[in-house]
Symmetry: C2
């Protein structure tokens, strides 16, 4: 059984949107802080990984949301690097509220990238060993991201505060561009129940991205939104977001 | 002597820019969290103020920066509502590092606004009393904001995640629009030493703002930038930022 690691986090007003609940970009920032802290605690921090000429890159998230925590709440974020195969490492995250109820459960896929040529590396045992993840043969495909149909488009210029090191956009930013297009009326009457997101290509400082989306009903759900982030017609990220009507 | 109130804050990577230091918008978010916490501790939180039909609004900041804290540091934020007159309340903030060195000192001006008609109210003794601020006659004018000369302009659309309650843009966002225009090369080779910012008019969801700026040398300083945020030719905020060359 792979090691688990937990951190306490206070949800502050500036991490919440006009609904008073945690924003999706900040949710991703908070969980990644916890996995970084686990890596540091196991002496496998980013400097150690960089000593192999490598860096961790997240390729996809499957985010199941029971409810988004509100401003003023204290949550516990738990992470576990459950399993890995030749190229992919699978890590789970849980967000629990003070009563111990699960608010969010996230499955994620990490790969090691060569810092020089930005290509995927095979997993290195020395980097992964302390997490005590299970070695597996199978590659988890995850639920398929639904295509955008007759999409509308809105452009966004990559800003200075959108990038982290290396002039690349932080993964969490894509969900800002993807949800923003849905507008105030939609975003104050709906809440995300599940988010499938896949990162295909890095976006750089100064680029103009097209945030393309379509919206439909599906099964009993009031709304499913399909998203692509493109730069010059190249897909950089794709997502499907399943929405519920917000309870007031 | 007015009461002081302090909070500890961990500076996390996602609160920092590509330089690895705290962003100006997050600096403002963190200090306001501390003044809100003081108000809550004194039973003068936003609900109490709202019971008078009022809300606090910040009209200006004078931010003196010795150094911006880095990712991984733990800082102490201290605040003190020093004095007030008929309409204006003056509040100071300090950010100290773990060694007790002052990183940032901020003077701010708060006013009470009528929530219904969005007009300024006179200060109500019952709201202000527990802070033990000194009652003064004088109105602090603060250092004058320098005009933009032959300014260039870049437009920004107000996004869903830019607004807090009431569909208004959070004050901290203006510094994102103001600094972003200066570009990657400038922002990775310069660091702000002093920021004077004045908020004149609220910006709302969906509006397009023009971020107008000019850049000059002044005295021994390598760069002084002058800024305006306008919506349809109305000035919503103005700032002067004094920059130093960044030490690598």
């Amino acid at each position: 059984m792979a090691k688990k690691y937990s951190e306490i986090h206070d949800i502050v007003y500036y991490q919440c949107d006009t609904n008073g609940t945690l924003t999706l970009p900040t949710l991703l920032n908070i969980i990644i802080k916890t996995s970084s802290a686990q890596s540091d605690a196991l002496n496998r921090g980013s400097d150690y990984v960089a000593s192999f000429g490598l860096a961790w890159v997240i390729t996809q998230y499957d985010i199941a949301i029971t409810r988004l925590p509100s401003s003023g709440e204290t949550v516990t974020v738990t992470t576990q690097a459950t399993s890995y195969n030749k190229f992919f490492c699978y890590r789970n995250f849980w967000v629990h509220d003070e009563a111990g109820n699960e608010c969010v459960f996230i499955k994620s896929t990490f790969v090691l990238m060569n810092i020089e040529n930005r290509k995927m590396s095979s997993v290195i045992e020395d980097i992964i060993a302390p997490y005590e993840s299970e070695k597996v043969k199978r590659i988890e495909r995850g639920e398929k991201i639904q295509p955008v149909e007759n999409g509308r488009s809105q452009d966004y210029r990559v800003r200075f505060l959108d990038i982290d090191g290396n002039k690349h956009v932080n993964n969490s930013k894509y969900l800002d561009w993807m949800t923003d297009v849905l507008g105030f009326d939609f975003l104050t009457t709906h809440t995300p129940e599940r988010v499938l997101i896949k990162f295909d290509k890095e976006v750089e400082y100064g680029e103009i991205v097209d945030s393309i989306w379509s919206l439909k009903k599906q099964d009993s759900r009031p709304a499913v939104s399909c998203h692509q982030i493109k730069v010059n017609d190249t897909i950089c990220a794709e997502a499907t977001i399943f929405w519920q009507t917000k309870n007031e």
